[in-house]
């Protein structure tokens, strides 16, 4: 009977052991190993952990971080270096014996006592780096924001190259469809007043993009996604022509020679992963437009095309665009450790 009690006690201890392990609080991260010696010398080339097929090194005894973007071969949380006993200061002597040139000359114990002046960045590793990456940005001119007479929806596309992480140079272009608002006709019919209307054919531009703002959102406190806001501006050309509404019986306009236009805009980019993002952008295309002449001529003068055009007017074409951004290459390397 006593043996049975002892056996039960042993078994109970076996059951309880894993439970204690669960209940045990997580160990606080130990002092950073960098205090004694930097993991990577400042002059060393950056290590592409993703390209090397290994997950980033976890902090010593700290919680393991899962890298969702690590290659399939890498096991999250698996240390990249084999575990072993912590090298003792005496071990350096062995290095000196093997390779005197590699023998450390500094007193590591003294170095360890120095204050650590580690440079901390506000954001240690930006989720989606843009530096030296291409951005392909197809979008749709969804809303014409300042033209209640004619809306100008249509596809647009942009190709940007990020010279730095916050500055890009690129090209963009778009094609327009044009929808004449119903109220134009009603105004003409009721007030006998015609507003010169313009339709657009295409635009193309050379742009500069600056990204001063970035951040992250927690969705329902459950998932996190990153975003940035950018300013864009450039110069290009736009092809337009008047819609004949004053004297449509005699006037028929061809697409004019493209006009120089300037554009400025702001955009919001929400990253779904490190290379794919949704984009909302508002851009103002500014150009000098040639409007239809509001004076009606008779006889041969009505057929003279030089009489068809009236005043020139500085026009703002403000468009809200919805689109996506695809960054290439898909992967990159971080310069600083996490």
């Amino acid at each position: 009977m006593n043996q049975a009690r002892i056996g039960l006690l042993v078994m109970a201890a076996l059951i309880a052991a894993p439970s204690f392990a669960h209940a045990q609080k997580k160990k606080k991260p130990a002092a950073k190993p960098a205090v004694t010696a930097p993991a990577v010398p400042p002059s060393a080339p950056p290590v592409d952990a993703a390209a090397a097929g290994v997950a980033p090194l976890p902090p010593a005894q700290g919680p393991t971080e899962i890298d969702a973007d690590a290659p399939a071969g890498a096991t999250p949380g698996e240390p990249a270096a084999p575990e072993g006993p912590t090298p003792e200061p005496g071990d350096l002597g062995e290095i000196c014996k093997i390779d005197p040139a590699a023998c450390p000359t500094m007193n590591l114990a003294e170095e360890a006592k120095k204050d650590l002046k580690e440079q901390m960045y506000a954001v240690q590793q930006i989720y989606a780096l843009r530096y030296h990456r291409f951005e392909i940005q197809p979008a749709w001119n969804a809303i014409t924001m300042n033209d209640q007479f004619v809306s100008h929806p249509g596809p647009v596309a942009a190709l940007n190259f990020y010279v730095t992480n916050v500055l890009a140079v690129g090209v963009s272009g778009g094609y327009y469809f044009n929808n004449d608002s119903k109220f134009n006709f009603q105004t003409r019919r009721a007030a006998r007043v015609a507003v010169p209307l313009t339709e657009y054919q295409w635009q193309a531009a050379l742009n500069f993009t600056y990204v001063p703002i970035y951040g992250k959102f927690a969705g329902f406190s459950d998932f996190i996604f990153h975003y940035d806001a950018y300013l864009v501006g450039g110069v290009g050309a736009i092809s337009t022509r008047p819609i004949a509404v004053v004297d449509p019986d005699n006037r028929s306009f061809n697409w004019d020679k493209p006009k120089i236009d300037f554009n400025v805009g702001i955009g919001l980019r929400i990253f779904f992963n490190r290379w794919f993002a949704g984009v909302l952008e508002v851009r103002d295309y500014i150009f000098l437009d040639k409007l239809e002449n509001t004076t009606v001529f008779t006889g041969q003068d009505a057929l003279n095309t030089s009489n068809w055009y009236g005043e020139q007017k500085l026009t703002n074409n403000v468009q809200a665009q919805l689109g996506v951004s695809i960054f290439l290459p898909f992967a990159w390397e971080y310069r600083l450790a996490k």
Binding site: A12, S19, P76, Q186, T187, V195, G215, K216, I224
Partner: protein, 295 residues
């Protein structure tokens, strides 16, 4: 036998416990149960927001409206709030088109050739010397076009706000602000002044007055809040309020075929459905002034 069963059950318990442990680690990992954000400043939860607002109408045809107002919100949770937004149309600015119509109408009515008008006014025999010599449209333009335009006098909208996204942003890596993005919706009660109804002699000058009415429409939109301090936030929001109204005071519908032609009457048929849009800027003040933090 009893001993064997006892030992067996204990062993099964041990193995069962081991399997469960291994599975838990495999399924959830070392961050099991960890919240996405720790020590999150709960900028909204349990707080009242009082926000003066200034709103601007967008894509107006004949008249722009600036509406000062305010928003009162109680945040039930950090992701859910109820409140009311109200504003009144304090400033009305005619568009260039309105100015042009007004000018042309005056010239046509003046009858002075030096103003571009025809001698004696335009050739017509309608009462009040109205400027339109078209039988169909004689009830559309009055002596003062600006006085027949539809106006938004006030808007009151009780609303529910859902705040799914909460985060922060960095500006030039120097300025950091908490921010959230939200959507809202609810009914809107809109006080309007638009051309009064008229069933006969609608071309007469006294038929161009305005009358007030109240419209009810859905109101919805989205916005961003940028928390400048623990008790204050700058907000920007867009709101859509679709409803039908007669913005120009025209007679546009009612006659055959299919009621698409003017009928010389001004009534409900002449209201056009319009997707009215409003852009608002607000400065919100929160009470209590200090937010709580999550675990």
């Amino acid at each position: 036998m009893r001993r064997f069963l006892t030992v067996l059950s204990v062993l099964l318990g041990v193995f069962a416990s081991t399997r469960a442990t291994a599975q838990e680690i495999q399924l959830t990992g070392p961050l099991a149960g960890a919240p996405a954000v720790r020590q999150l400043r709960l900028q909204r939860q349990g707080r009242v927001e009082i926000a003066p607002t200034v709103s601007f109408t967008l894509l107006d045809e004949y008249q722009r409206t600036i509406l000062p107002g305010g928003r009162l919100t109680y945040n039930l949770a950090d992701w859910l709030a109820i409140g009311v937004w109200g504003a009144f149309g304090a400033v009305k600015l005619p568009t260039g088109l309105t100015d042009h119509i007004q000018e042309v109408t005056q010239i046509r009515r003046s009858g002075r050739p030096e103003d571009g008008g025809l001698p004696g006014g335009e050739a017509n025999d309608y009462p009040g010397d109205i400027s339109i010599n078209n039988l169909r449209t004689r009830a559309s333009i009055g002596p003062q076009f600006k006085d027949q335009l539809g106006r938004i006098d006030f808007i009151v909208s009780p609303q529910v706000t859902l705040i799914p996204f909460r985060g922060k942003l960095a500006i030039f890596q120097k300025i950091f602000v908490d921010t959230d993005a939200y959507v809202f919706g609810g009914p809107a009660i809109i006080g309007l002044s638009e051309r009064k109804s008229c069933e006969a002699n609608c071309g007469e000058p006294d038929a161009y007055g305005r009358a007030s009415r109240v419209a009810v429409a859905p109101s919805f939109g989205l916005g961003f809040n940028f928390y400048l301090a623990k008790f204050m936030a700058l907000g920007l929001e867009w709101r859509g309020i679709p409803f039908a109204w007669n913005t120009g005071g025209f007679d546009t519908r009612g006659a055959n075929p299919d009621g698409r032609f003017p009928d010389n009457k001004v009534n409900d048929d002449d209201r056009e459905f319009k997707f009215n849009q409003v852009l608002s800027v607000n400065l919100g003040f929160y009470l209590p002034t200090k937010p709580k933090s999550s675990d």
